[in-house]
């Protein structure tokens, strides 16, 4: 059966059809090369649809004091200065054009009174900056790109999962994959490959990520020999649903807080006012009244502490719950209903501004957010770490391999600001498409090694031949429980060492896992294949988190609770060497003087 596969050939092959992958595919095909686009699910269903709040772009439509310099310094500050400065600069400069381009392709953003694209407040952004469509901005983004892309002559391969990257020497020259419908193998030859596979949330029990978020791109690149950086930086979004149990982790948009929602503990205390980090003190409201004025567009007011960066808000919530001041189901209260004191038609206002939140809570939790506070708690949301790429071209450390979006790393540093992800997808998706097309024009197809394919096919089919092993769903479940418990929001050396031992055991179980049924659309088989990726990224997260002996952004160490300036000088990288994961320090590139100046000017 191993020899039984179909071969496809493209100049550029894009893996992943969320915002970054679609934008990359559109750009590459516009450059005149043939493009294949692999979707793990159906086209238009990628995790980008879950993005709610908006995309950050300093267009200055609502507050004309905004410009790329403010956006750049907000991003660097949010990332605690371990970001790749060049990526943060490109992102801040190019995001406005990328957003306007979406409008030219049919996107319909909410409007200002003078008919421009409306922008909303979000955590860590000094001015209202997020272009949005109610609270379903991700759907608008993916649909716009999809509907534009289908007229571009891109070959779309739906419900296809990549098993490994194929190499000719150091260069990536294609991929080995399988299509789920019939369970058949496919080989894709490509002059350049772009990974745009999203995140790793499924390594954790409580997550906002769909089943697809299994770190595929991270693991594929790693096993092909590429470098991953910043894997310890995981974003726990402060507000996920906590009740009922079956929806635990589903995202509650930061837009709720942007529209005036406040966080309270069981004692009714607005605890975010009790802990404001020093470097945000002069940007934060002094009292609730000022915070409210900020959310309503008063330019003289500072933002409420609920809109501090996500890493900080998540830790504050965690602390309240641990101190016994949590809500009945182990979260805290997020209250938007209180704005009825301020707005006469608040119920209608909330439904208009946050329609999907309203429906989500009515349908899944039987709760009306216009009258009752929600219960929320942190949920694994995003990984700042990923494939190490060149800032301008998105080229990985392997020739012919590019990465964009969540699976690439650099722009966000230790913590991503809300709204910077959607803009990251379109800014760097475009760049990846452009430079991959350029690479494809300059290079012919490489040679596909039949032995590699043979070995990968054999490995992929092994779970069918084994007997008596564990069901892959159980192994995945145990991994999620363990990562949540031992490498979660608050980390300790001992616990992470325990996790490494646990990972070893899980790897052994995964190697013996068995599945039932045949190769046709078999979720058990798929889960068995996903496990390898999840275990790889879990190990990378744990090792990197042990290595970073300080607390910064998405990494909080109880045994090293403070920031250490020594750790601000490099990124932690992992790479596969002789089948083992090796850790190294990659010095941060020196920021040019004019950008240092920008940061200083912006305070």
């Amino acid at each position: 059966m191993a020899n039984d596969y179909t071969t496809f050939e493209h100049d550029v092959l894009v893996i992943g059809a969320g915002g970054a992958g679609l934008r990359a595919a559109i750009e590459a095909s516009s450059a005149g090369v043939s493009v294949g686009l692999i979707c793990k699910s159906l086209l238009g269903k990628a995790h980008t649809v879950m993005a709610e709040g908006g995309m950050a772009a300093a267009m200055g439509n609502v507050d004309d004091r905004d410009n790329w310099k403010v956006h750049f310094s907000d991003t660097m500050r949010g990332g605690q200065y371990v970001n790749n400065w060049r990526m943060a600069e490109l992102h801040a400069k190019e995001a406005p054009d990328r957003v306007r381009e979406l409008e030219a392709w049919g996107a319909v953003f909410d409007r200002t009174k003078d008919g421009k694209i409306l922008q909303r407040n979000f955590g860590g952004h000094r001015y209202p900056r997020l272009a949005h469509v109610g609270d379903r901005t991700g759907l608008e983004l993916i649909r716009t790109l999809q509907d534009h892309g289908i007229h571009q002559g891109i070959d779309v391969h739906m419900e296809v999962t990549v098993i490994s990257l194929l190499k000719d020497g150091d260069r990536v020259v294609g991929v080995f994959a399988y299509e789920r419908e019939h369970g058949r193998f496919r080989v894709f030859k490509a002059k350049a490959v772009i990974l745009a596979t999203g995140g790793v949330g499924r390594a954790y029990k409580i997550t906002s990520n769909s089943w697809e978020g299994t770190g595929d791109g991270h693991a594929l690149a790693y096993h092909a020999g590429a470098e991953l950086i910043d894997m310890e930086f995981i974003q726990f979004h402060p507000t996920g649903m906590v009740w009922p149990p079956s929806v635990r982790g589903i995202l509650v948009t930061e837009g709720v807080r942007g529209e005036g929602g406040i966080l309270k503990n069981s004692e009714g205390n607005r605890f975010m006012f009790d802990d404001i980090p020093d470097n945000y003190k002069d940007q934060t409201a002094k009292d609730p009244e000022e915070g409210w004025r900020y959310t309503q567009g008063d330019k003289s007011a500072n933002r409420p502490p609920e809109l501090l960066t996500r890493d900080h808000v998540a830790r504050c919530i965690n602390r309240e719950v641990k101190a016994g001041r949590g809500s009945p189901h182990g979260g805290v209260f997020l209250d938007i209903a209180w704005i009825k004191e301020k707005l006469p038609n608040s119920a209608e206002h909330i439904k208009k501004k946050l329609p999907s939140m309203y429906h989500q809570f009515v349908q899944l939790a039987n709760l009306d957010i216009t009258t009752t506070p929600m219960e929320v708690g942190p949920t694994t949301h995003y990984i700042m770490g990923g494939i190490r790429v060149d800032a301008d071209t998105q080229a990985s450390t392997l020739p012919g391999l590019y990465a964009a979006g969540e699976c690439a790393s650099g722009i966000n540093g230790a913590n991503r600001l809300g709204g910077n992800s959607l803009s990251d997808l379109i800014v760097f998706g475009k760049r990846a498409g452009e430079y991959a097309a350029e690479f494809a024009k300059a290079n012919g197809h490489g040679i596909i090694d039949a032995a590699q394919i043979e070995a990968e096919a054999k490995r992929a089919l092994e779970p069918f031949d084994r007997e008596g092993g564990d069901n892959p769903f159980n192994i995945q479940h145990d991994l999620q429980e363990m990562m949540q418990r031992l490498v979660g929001i608050v980390r300790l050396e001992d616990e992470m060492q325990e996790a490494l031992v646990g990972l070893q055991k899980l790897n052994e179980r995964a190697a013996k896992s068995t599945i039932t049924g045949n190769i046709d659309f078999n979720p058990g088989w798929h889960t068995a294949l996903d496990l390898r990726n999840l275990l790889t990224v879990s190990e990378a997260i744990t090792l990197s988190a042990i290595e970073r002996k300080e607390s910064r952004g998405g990494q909080f160490r109880d045994d090293y609770p403070n920031k250490d300036p020594e750790f601000a000088k490099f990124n932690i990288a992992v790479k596969e060497v002789d089948g083992r994961m090796e850790i190294s320090h990659v010095p941060l590139p020196e920021m040019p003087a004019e950008l240092k100046q920008v940061i200083e000017e912006m305070g």
Binding site: K45, M50, G138, L364, W525
Partner: protein, 247 residues
């Protein structure tokens, strides 16, 4: 903890049968949770599509007790679980396996609809100006998550199998979103009348009823499109004017 029985369609393209599975149910569970539990406990090869589990991606469409619904948004306490709960794939499309149907026809249909064609930008910087009140309607249509439940329930497709002649409610909404887009300059009424078969819709509003996004498909999208077609192609006065113009 209570137990419920789920009667799930199992089998491939050639045919299938309903198989009963028992699983524990707890507070707040949705149908998709039950399917996942059954997968993990007793049927790891049970095929179903899902992604976001929050009603935003439109992947987990199925027929629950005969009603087209999203599995992730159907709470068990809204259906009778004292009787076996039937879960079947959408019937308006060919079945691939278990709960998975082949929805590729929808992707082909979309490609046939002329793409967005904006008027020249309004401002020198290449941007446009639109009032919120002018886009409210289009934004309603753009809430669509492409779950295809409206296609599934539509008798023109489901019972009369007019897939060749009729594009179905989803793509009438899609066309309406383009036609009513304040910036769009394209005209799609000719196709609506001929290739897209808008005349087949006899306004039974079943599509509106099953839409999980509560889009007023029939009243706000299909009927205004029908009016446009009538205005442009069947208005006797216009026809007369056209004849004179030709001379």
């Amino acid at each position: 903890m209570a137990t419920a029985t789920f009667s799930i369609r199992r089998g491939g393209r050639e045919g299938g049968e309903m198989v009963d599975y028992q699983t524990d149910v707890s507070e707040g569970m949705v149908v998709l949770d039950a399917v996942h539990q059954i997968q993990a406990e007793s049927a790891p090869d049970l095929a179903c599509r899902w992604n976001c589990k929050a009603g935003k991606c439109g992947s987990c469409s199925a027929e629950i007790n005969g009603m087209p619904k999203l599995m992730c948004m159907t709470r068990l306490d809204t259906i009778d679980i004292t009787q076996p709960v039937t879960i079947e794939p959408m019937r308006a499309f060919p079945v691939i396996k278990d709960l998975i149907s082949d929805v590729s026809w929808n992707y082909e249909v979309k490609k046939r609809i002329k793409k967005f064609k904006p008027r020249p930008p309004d401002a020198e910087d290449g941007t446009w100006r639109m009032q919120q009140s002018d886009i409210d309607r289009v934004q309603e249509f753009r809430k669509c998550i492409e779950c295809y439940l409206c296609q599934d329930v539509c008798h023109v497709l489901r019972d009369h199998v007019k897939h060749e002649e009729f594009i179905g409610p989803r793509f009438l909404v899609y066309t309406a979103a383009l036609e009513m887009h304040p910036l769009d300059t394209e005209n799609r009424t000719e196709e609506l009348k001929d290739m897209f078969g808008i005349g087949y819709c006899n306004i039974t509003k079943c599509c509106t009823k099953v839409c999980p996004e509560h889009i007023t498909i029939t009243d706000n999208a299909i009927i205004p499109l029908k009016e446009r077609v009538v205005d442009e192609h069947y208005d006797p006065l216009r026809k007369l004017i056209k004849i004179f113009r030709k001379k």
